[in-house]
Symmetry: C2
Subunit: 510 residues, 2 copies
């Protein structure tokens, strides 16, 4: 028996006890890594957007494949995740033309492509490919991303905000998530370090904080004020955390809100910036829904623009802004493209971020290219401009109509109230579950809103995420539903949702 | 002053002391996150492949751009990283044709493409796109990757090994690195948990172990035996670690070796498998160079094949095999595609891996598609087969010639000895640095092999990585150089390297 076996006698190691088992001829093999001896931080981490309800939906999908008549519905409708193209949204033609040409630059030399691709897509692809060292779209790029693409993105930020942006502050990432993980890893030393997050929140933040062994310091959005973000709430929650000995390092703000859909006013944003400045917190601005604003009286302003307009610069304010190609009107989730703009950090800290990025070499090039297109779309006069604008406007206006349609329907339901989605891609209705439903959930050993969502899924095939997956005011129950199903399907979905809800209430209010 | 300010009085928080500074009107602003208060695990993590030498090279590149005559060379030659296309290697045409069509499936309906794309590329793209739910190549996939692509990859593994592979065991990742990080995160609970790694090693492993707060348990490859891996060495290092109270959880084997280039014999692999079985360790098999074998008397066998041939199954042996689209003859580094095949873990542990994958949603689709092409290339009879084979063979045979050419040249240098590269993409020559060079390095405050590499870079523009970045037997000095520069450039590079080395020796042996 080997060294671990020897140690097993001392019995001071799970893996070596397993080892003992595995070596005994009678006992069944126990794998060295099992649920009782893995990293507890992994166990602690939760991500409901692809959690138990979604797993159950996948089982139902299999069942439906084997026997289409086995369930009370003929298709699953995945409203659990902001994944527009999975529900039939078509990609933006110009973006895909450029992507294809960059993926196969050999095409650029063939004149046949003139008939297949728009002239500005060809021109754009040629300029991108020639800006990549050696025209090598298959090579690792600089760990931050291709310099020329970061430059285009910085110009896009500058055009958006009216304030300068530096390509050296841009880190291109595989979607926004890896950037969030990198910043959280950088800032969290131990459980005494905290990051303030909105409740309800997008579970990427709670998951990442759990994985990196820090403390999530919650602040609550005010549902009664359209999920408003009050600085007084920030102050009192910070004070409470500090009293508990937590070093609060950063504030996460998701604007437009996920799962809550609110769009912050500039005045509100100014107060948030001032709060971070006064408390010397890093502001982590999740701005991936910046192009998803539907409320007529609201518009998106980046926190960078707000901070700069208040006179705060990279020399006196720490701000990280996250963006992505997954949302907006393009919804290129599967390409995994994104960036973070890191301002107000010393160069030696930026070098540490660069080092972390380097350990994974670089983000994928097609995501990098797509991010540059999002920040520099066709302009008036370009051959693709008309098609691009019509595709863009059709998607955004339809999303606005769907958001309104669905919110109205939800508000008609008994014991359900729902704030409108001013932006983003979700509604987060509140349900007052009847006592009977609470008891039934308890009997089923389920969280009440999970119980409701599972019943909804079993009855209709509609997949939504329980509010408990985003955290919520204790004792309140919600679910998150995307506004992404095709507009023509909305009436059917609403009808299914409504009749399920009525029968659910009937069953449990009796 | 806010809550943090209040706490600052207690002075028990760096960030709040910073806060105090930032609030005082006279003192300069100190950012909340600075080099003295970031996560120490990040500081500890090192990744020399893109470390100080490469940073210096980038500065020189800028200098060269501003004034081409400012340096003793007219171009940087990046031999620091396995990035074939950055040095002019052309992509495999079939792979790029399919990639382009999957990126823009709209093309599949246009008949003009018949003249631009090969018929089997069109057929393959159509079959891939139609196997993706909703033909949505822009949608998030299942967190493990598109099921149909995992099925193709599993079939490829089965064809390679002659043993069955299960698509449910395949996790598609953005290159091999994220899979390695996921497994290391899963297994490491604290500093008392250890993972055995070869020395020299690819620094991804030491970086990931540092970031996840575990202990790297080194075992040494025997340079005098062609970087041989002796099981007796594994045993004694394991015993020593266990005696130190380390719970050793896994063994990392890189085959073919990086940076060392050895290809393990089947007999050697059997002993390694038996060692892991006896000690109940997870075997982490880094097999990303499986198609890079140049020695006539060597061939690659996967550890899965070896373990199965010994009668070990998923019910009694824990094995993770990592593969990537970045290496081989395709070298599609920038697309970030890879997979890990996870066998011999309980389903509840696999569910935890799935959850970790879900937190980042999915790997990028074009990387997923490319990985499926690598595992299922054109077959004899397909229109593209001839071109594919000629491209493949030209690249692999040239790599073999370059490996031999460069090793011979290095062995001619005074006080330099170099094992041949049986596989992979690197040579790892040993230099016996003269006393004078050691003193000069010390005076410059540099590690001796870093001093040598910096001198080489300043004199020739050739970028290599100091052996200390991979760890090495204390007191020995090496550097890693890729075999990737174009074959026609090799003589020039060898000449530059040789004349630099001679003058370096002259300077410091005097």
């Amino acid at each position: 028996m080997g060294a671990n076996g020897v140690q097993e006698v001392n019995g001071n190691s799970t893996s070596n006890i397993d080892n003992g088992k595995s070596l005994s001829s009678t006992a069944p093999w126990c794998p060295p890594i099992n649920i009782d001896n893995i990293n507890p931080k992994v166990l602690e981490c939760q991500y409901a957007v692809r959690g138990e309800i979604v797993a159950h939906a996948e089982r139902l999908q299999q069942k439906l494949l084997q026997d289409p008549s086995s369930l009370p519905f003929d298709e699953l409708i995945y409203c659990n995740i902001g994944n527009p193209q999975s529900l039939g949204q078509q990609p933006i033609t110009f973006f895909r033309e450029v992507a294809a040409l960059c993926d196969h630059p050999g095409l650029l030399h063939k004149k046949e492509i003139q008939t297949v691709f728009s002239s500005d897509a060809i021109k754009r692809a040629e300029s991108i490919v020639s800006s990549i060292p050696g025209r090598a779209t298959g090579a690792y790029s600089h760990s931050k991303g291709v310099k020329a693409l970061r430059t285009i993105i910085a110009e896009g930020i500058q055009n958006r905000d009216g304030y300068s942006a530096d390509p050296e502050d841009i880190f291109l990432t595989d979607g926004a998530s890896p950037g969030v993980h990198m910043m959280i890893r950088l800032m969290l030393r131990n459980k005494k370090d905290g990051i303030m997050c909105p409740i309800p929140q997008y579970p990427l933040y709670s998951a990442s904080i759990a994985l990196h062994d820090g403390t999530l310091v919650p602040y609550y959005l005010d549902e009664s004020k359209g999920w408003g973000l009050e600085v007084s709430e920030l102050k009192s929650r910070l004070e409470a955390a500090v009293a508990d000995g937590i070093n609060v390092r950063a504030l996460v703000v998701i604007n437009p809100g996920n799962p809550t859909g609110q769009v912050l006013s500039e005045e509100n944003q100014q107060k948030i910036v001032q709060f971070c400045k006064d408390e010397n917190l890093v502001l982590l601005a999740d701005e991936v829904y910046q192009e998803n604003v539907y409320a007529d009286n609201k518009k998106f302003s980046s926190f960078k623009k707000i901070a700069r307009s208040m006179g705060y610069t990279e020399r006196d304010f720490s701000l990280v802004s996250f963006h992505s190609i997954s949302k907006g009107f393009y919804g290129e989730c599967g390409r995994r493209g994104g960036y973070m703009e890191v301002t107000g950090f010393d160069s030696d800290v930026k070098n540490q971020i660069y080092k972390m990025a380097s350990v994974s070499l670089c983000s994928n090039l097609s995501g990098q290219v797509m991010m540059s297109l999002v920040m520099n779309p066709p302009k008036d006069g370009d051959e693709s401009y008309e098609l691009y604008s019509s595709e863009r406007n059709a998607i955004l206006s339809s999303l606005g109509r769907r958001a309104k349609m669905l919110a109205e329907a939800l508000n008609k339901l008994e014991r359900v109230s729902c704030n409108e989605a001013e932006g983003a891609m979700y509604l987060f209705p509140r349900i007052e579950l009847p006592e009977g439903a609470m008891k039934a959930a308890q009997a089923a050993g389920m969280v009440p809103d999970t119980f409701y969502c599972k019943r909804l899924l079993d009855a209709t095939g509609i997949v939504v995420v329980p509010g408990s997956g985003f955290r919520q005011v204790p004792g309140t129950w919600h679910f998150r539903i995307t506004i992404l199903p095709p507009e023509e399907k909305m009436p059917t979905i609403i009808a299914k949702l409504t009749s399920f809800h009525e029968s659910f209430m009937q069953e449990f209010q009796g």
